[in-house]
Amino acid sequence: MKVRILFFASLRDELGDSRSVEAVEALPGETTVAALREAVAALSPAAARLGRRLLVAVNERYATDGDPVRPGDSVAFLPPLAGG
């Protein structure tokens, strides 16, 4: 399936955009935030380190692990930021 993926901050540094889209295409049909999070963690040490602390937005709404991700959705991975 195809979803639009946006990576920010440390994830963007590690992944850019292209590899992530391939990884997502390998996932079958409809999936969940948890499965997508796992797929991203396998590619990105920063995502793996953050685990469930990595914020996920599906179609610009806060999403938790059980939420579905469907073809055509836009998914943003947003590391929490500490600096100031």
Binding site: R53, L55, A57, R61, A76, L78, P80, L81, A82, G84
Partner: protein
Amino acid sequence: MNRPPDDRYSRQVLFRPLGAEGQARLRAARVLVAGCGGLGAESASLLARAGVGFLRIVDRDVVELSNLQRQALFDEADVREGLPKAVAAARRLARVNSDVAVEPIVADIGPRNVRGLLDGVDLVVDGFDSFEARFLMNDACVETRTPLVYGACIASTGLAALLVPGVTPCLRCLLPELPEPGSAATCDTAGILGPAAHLAASMQVGRALRYLSTGESPPEAELVYADVWEARFTRMAVPRDPACPCCAGRQFDFLSVETPQTAVLCGRDSVQVRPLVPSKPDFATLAERLRTLGEVVANDWLLRFRTEDAELTLFSDGRAVVKGTNDPARARSLVARTFGV
């Protein structure tokens, strides 16, 4: 042509959603700027210029050369004088807008003093550089029902969201899984671009001005997240978490944490040592004694002492920052040996 009575704010009064009524509300508003670094210095400047009537600016650090790349409120003279950021900010803002009352406080915000700092304040602007400080302020803001404009930045990225207790989610609804202490990158370790800090601060102050001038707040938090290098923006609507321990359960974990005596200031090769009993040091006597042992700089707010391998700064609230080590035990020992506390 009719001239508006107060030319200073004419351009923002022309902005209709704010208007003259909104301007009057800004004048009556009282804001706490919590931390005066990349975010806080810019926020303080925008708030003072916009005519927010009272600003309490709290920061624990002094102005350093590495701040000037992004913190437009400060200059080289502040670095030379060794001024605390809160004091340098108040001095500068007095020249920018003398209508605004600025109260500078040189202190580290912790469980002991946070409620007092919120006293009489309508809104808090987050200028912190750690999750620990943000969660503490979130607890205090939810407890006292004070709106908090969350903001943060790192590298080329910044974010902001308005959090209104009882209306929107709080910081713990957004981040239910607490970051491990010291695990997050800071501006001192991962770097920061000036535009990222300014963008986050501008988004924060945009939320603050709207809330203060209209009283309006959407029921969900709108987190804005932006990267100034990639020119990318996104947003995320965040609902309240009905199971949130803080804003639903009113359990304020961070207000009851005992602050540790020492804190390693990550990426700055420094350790902060807090006094067991806060008291104001006698700078004059100390300076006289230390002058025979090394280089001493003292002003109303701090005393700085340099030896061959370390630099110790003692603040008027009794805190000391030891530069040149990341070892808490060595820092405590140097402070005890040098200042006798």
